[in-house]
Symmetry: C2
Subunit: 323 residues, 2 copies
């Protein structure tokens, strides 16, 4: 694990190297537009569809960059991680492509579809309780036992450089943007977005979108230091984890604002995207549109990139279903 005293901040060169390194293993995902949502919001929205990404989420970018950046010696004992889901299956996918072992610690409450996908890519799961404290304890045991290289789901410069390739593509695919909105959990996607845009398009404002019920990043941003909650509850299961030193660095220095929305806002936005755009995406991915709908005045008249982070949802437990 990285110590804060030796924190390495990834650079634009790291992101550009990741961009070349991971190309054979990922999709250049499409950017979709919707006249319906443009009318509804008064903005011009460009949806970067990482739900169509390999392994179903943007996290395969950072995971592939970490896995394929290892020397053969470093890769000898494989990789390991803890993750609420998408990083777990992205790392399993990347490790499988390289042919090395992957051990992941997942909360027992993670969607069954994600657990099945991890196993399908060849990853080995050890379950923990759905809290940060349990996850870290179980992971320490797994890491000691396997000796795998730890690829943190977000607080890792290789991962952040990889996630930054998403907004690099988005810039190439759109003809100028005023703002980008991405969800924030641990801050990996937002940090990668900050890394890329602060160098290549510093005029673009960066908004982080967060569930009210897991608003630790929002409170950290207002307080000026990291505030971490142990086990927040939200339908956006990818956004429950707290900021760490490296992602906090990017959030503090480059994020324009953090906007929060209710659980119902998230569910309504998710259902509306399914209905109108005919795409399957997970609750976390609906948080950006939910914030745009709630803060119409901030975005109206603007050209806005919206990151649809992933599509790995349990079709038997959709949030609008009655249990």
């Amino acid at each position: 694990m990285k110590d804060a005293t030796e924190m390495y901040i990834p650079t634009l060169e790291d992101m550009l190297a990741a961009h070349e390194r991971i190309k054979p293993y990922i999709h250049r995902t499409p950017v979709l537009t919707s006249s319906y949502f443009n009318e509804l919001t008064g903005a011009k929205l460009f949806f970067k569809c990482e739900n169509f990404q390999k392994a179903g989420a943007f996290k395969v970018r950072g995971a592939s960059n970490a896995v394929f950046g290892l020397s053969d010696e470093e890769a000898r004992h494989g990789v390991c991680t803890h993750s609420s889901g998408n990083h777990a299956l992205s790392l399993s996918y990347a490790a499988g492509r390289r042919g090395i072992p992957c051990n992941v610690v997942m909360p027992r409450t993670a969607p069954e579809a994600k657990k099945a996908a991890v196993r399908g890519y060849g990853g080995t799961i050890t379950e923990c309780e759905p809290s940060t404290s349990s996850r870290e304890a179980v992971f320490a045991e797994v890491q000691a036992r396997t000796g795998g290289d730890f690829v943190h789901p977000y607080n890792d410069p290789r991962v952040i450089a990889g996630q930054g390739t998403c907004s690099c593509e988005l810039l190439e695919q759109t003809d100028g943007l005023d703002a980008v909105v991405a969800p924030i959990g641990g801050g990996g996607m937002i940090s990668g977005t900050c890394l890329t845009l602060s160098s290549l398009a510093p005029e673009v404002k960066i908004y982080a979108a967060e569930p009210e019920q897991a608003d630790d990043a929002y409170r950290s941003f207002k307080a000026g230091h990291i505030i971490a909650d142990d086990a927040p509850e939200t339908v956006a299961d990818g956004l429950k984890v707290p900021l760490k030193d490296l992602t906090w660095h990017f959030v503090r220095n480059h994020v324009t604002d953090i906007l929060t929305v209710s659980e119902q806002d998230i569910i309504d936005a998710m259902k509306l995207i399914w209905q109108r755009m005919k795409i399957v995406m997970e609750p976390s991915s609906a948080v950006p549109l939910a914030t745009i709908l709630k803060n119409r005045d901030v975005f109206a008249g603007k050209r806005v990139g919206v990151v649809i982070t992933g599509g790995n949802v349990d079709l038997d437990k959709l949030p609008w279903m009655k249990n």
Copy 2:
């Protein structure tokens, strides 16, 4: 209504005219591929995604061709139709774009999402019972009252010429095909496919895919004459209607075979497409993939176009949900 004695068979020229006429009002929908489904089937599949089409279904092609082919005099009293759903909202959309009235007769059991969409486009709904006999009786009254031009959902040369533009695009978007599989209900999409492919790519085999529980086209094909059921029950709600003289002409002369699948086959294929391709599509659209999975020997090693006909599904009533 057309009389069989004066049946006009649409030609390649009609399809090409439609192709030009409707361009401003429809999307050129993407063709998606999936390495997962290629491995699963042993074939190379090219999914023509009409779920991303305007009004959410391929039917907007035929409807737009009919509406924009009318003279101002002919368009004076608007248009009218009966439909289990997608033709209703496609005709409402096209009439709305032209600024003329649209009256539609829909079964009261049609998905709420489709009824709401018809009203959203400005169409006026009159409900009937979910049987062919009730639909035709209620429609006769509506047509007499409004004087609108009748645009049949499939047994109309303008509609078939319009649907034929879908496989015209598919040919342009793929580099040679061995077969195309499309669902069959009344036969509009299949007839348009036959119209286009029999002229432009006669080497491509045409397979129609049908639910076992609404297999009137299959039985017609085997018997050599139209067999119509009054009210078949299937989860593929767009495929309940019978062949008519014009669509029968194309089916009889150009279809290679009709393949049928069970309700469970359809639901399984639909869920698998949602899970792996991350697209929202309706049960009828899953029937082609279900037949390919069931008839692996017919399609393995082939390059196969698969028509995803529409995406207008009621998200509160997905077929794998427990009621």
